[in-house]
Point group: D2
Chain length 204, copies 4
């Protein structure tokens, strides 16, 4: 269950690459729509054992230039969206005594730059919500982790936006997926809550 996406069309293209997958687009801000999507997934594939929360919304700009409405929507998608998803998926994991919820973030979750007023607060809130969930679910055998991606991801639109940069500039989606997979499958005597990944040449 991947709780985000660049819309139904991209989601269907992805599904075509993954035989046996199920695509259920929905708006994570809408608790009812999410509950319906979740019910459909459970009915078809069973209760999810691993959830990757990758939905994100944010506006570029400082606190004077963003619209308060933009921040509100970022909070709804990035924070309340995670809360809704977790409340739907955690109980079955707790009953099973196993499962994983991986939340993806970026450096905005850790610091507030002037031009990220429309994104950073919601990512920081999301990270701390995930931390609170991790402490609640850990002793139940359910692993919550937060993957901070300090990178430009190698997808078609970033290749256009950063034209001319070498391949090494980007984080490869396959490598990010591997990081998620690793977090979701760590042996439970050595779990990680938080991990940052960045390309080897990134300045940090």
């Amino acid at each position: 269950m991947r709780t985000a996406g660049a819309g139904p069309i991209a989601a269907r293209a992805l599904a075509a690459e993954l035989p046996g997958s199920l695509v259920v687009p929905c708006d994570v801000r809408d608790a009812d729509a999410l509950a319906e999507a979740h019910a459909q997934i459970v009915a078809t594939l069973g209760a999810p054992g691993v959830v990757v929360h990758n939905a994100v919304l944010g506006a570029r700009g400082d606190f004077l230039t963003i619209e308060p409405r933009q921040m509100q929507r970022a909070l709804e998608v990035n924070v309340l969206g995670l809360l809704h998803v977790a409340r739907l998926c955690a109980p079955a994991m707790m009953a099973a005594g196993r499962g994983a919820i991986v939340v993806t973030g970026n450096t905005s979750a850790h610091r507030g730059r002037a031009q990220f007023a429309g994104l950073a607060p919601s990512k920081a809130a999301q990270r701390i919500l995930a931390e609170s969930m991790a402490r609640r679910l850990g002793p139940e055998g359910v692993h919550v982790s937060y993957l901070t991606i300090d990178a430009v991801i190698d997808v078609p639109w970033t290749r256009e936006a950063f034209a001319g940069r070498p391949d090494d500039f980007y984080a490869r989606p396959d490598d990010l997926a591997e990081a998620c997979w690793m977090l979701a499958h760590q042996p439970r005597s050595a779990w990680t809550f938080e991990m940052t990944v960045r390309p080897f040449g990134e300045v940090w």
Copy 2:
């Protein structure tokens, strides 16, 4: 301009202690009401030179037991409330090339304990919003700071809730006010964004 309070009654009691003060209770989630309160303050006392944002709302409980609606309201008060206040007050400070906004928080702004799912995410978001504001306003001569209070504050209701604790257990409101005053008046060659205060005997 103190943007919070334990309701109109407490605010009026406070005003009675402070000759020349003006009490304008309002709901910081309501942008229009805030704008009206701000206009009233400006008309009476002039544009505020120092703003202490102390409004807070939160629910106790883990992510399964709180109501999503409670988290939403905490985000509205603690994050959007600060955004609204800052957008109203910053422009006059920027025009003057001076001013201070002090935001108060607690350890929830830094870490997410299991039972603080209804508070910690919103305080973390507030802290990062303040950081983003500080970076935007600093070069304009306007000082934004975040005061983390890692303490039980000595007020009547905590004296009841923690009956039997010695005086040293509490942070004194006067001492916290002094910390706010200090932050608001630091010389501008040595500004602090973030400061934590706690009683000398506190375990941390």
Copy 3:
């Protein structure tokens, strides 16, 4: 090349389990002895591609009860020992454009508790040295990472010291080794500098 150990005897017992391994005990504080050990390893097995720096020394006690000499030795083993090892091993990795140095730590690297005055400062210094090395070597294709182990490791002496605790209380050495292996083999578009691991039931 594992730069520590509970002495020559334990090291030989370990070697007996690992066919083809080479055991070269030495004191990491002694730059000359390390250089000799390194030369012996290079001559026998070639230049190391992965180095795990696991050597540690520390004294329990607060700043008044430890001996300054104990802190000095902790700094020599934990900080200077890493510096010596890195200076010996990094050049060949840089020439190859690949390689990994994994340093193991614990929560003392992040915070100074009262009774850890004889350990925490040296671990904090070690972590920041590793961070400085990571920034220097990353663009050269050499990956430095710091693994914080927030756990009691399951070895014979801790089983005695914490008698009665369930198996779940401990971090399993095999799982910690897997975390080191993962860090040493991350794809270079998604490297991690810092990762903390702890058992699922650990309070944090």
Copy 4:
């Protein structure tokens, strides 16, 4: 008792400005010399109530270009020097149930840049040692704090090194002294361990 300085000559120039002051230059790495200096101060002025540890030594360069001997000396001055001073001064403060130790640092105490391998590890160790001391001494009424100065300080040699920068570029020594004074005199219901100061226009 100021435990550092740019040498005996600068110290005497400073003393000339401060009637009633006592200048006792010594090498903080030398425990015996420090003990003697401390004894001389106690005999002349009484046991110090406030100690500012400002001694610092570091080498510029990455881990490959610095000499290990340079790092060792930085650890001796920045870490062991603080340990020696604290062991000499804390007991009288504990007996009095009051006193303050302020340690000054910089951003190297928080992160390891590639070219700060010869300084950052020792400052990180110093900060964590101060934190360990703060936890030990706080309940005794003795306040330890760490002041991170994220700035170029306005002194003659930096004016030369950064020629052409405006006055606003620098942190003023008087303002830094005020921050130290504030930390040393905070009311004990609201103590701060760590505080960063930087000029209002600084990029951070």
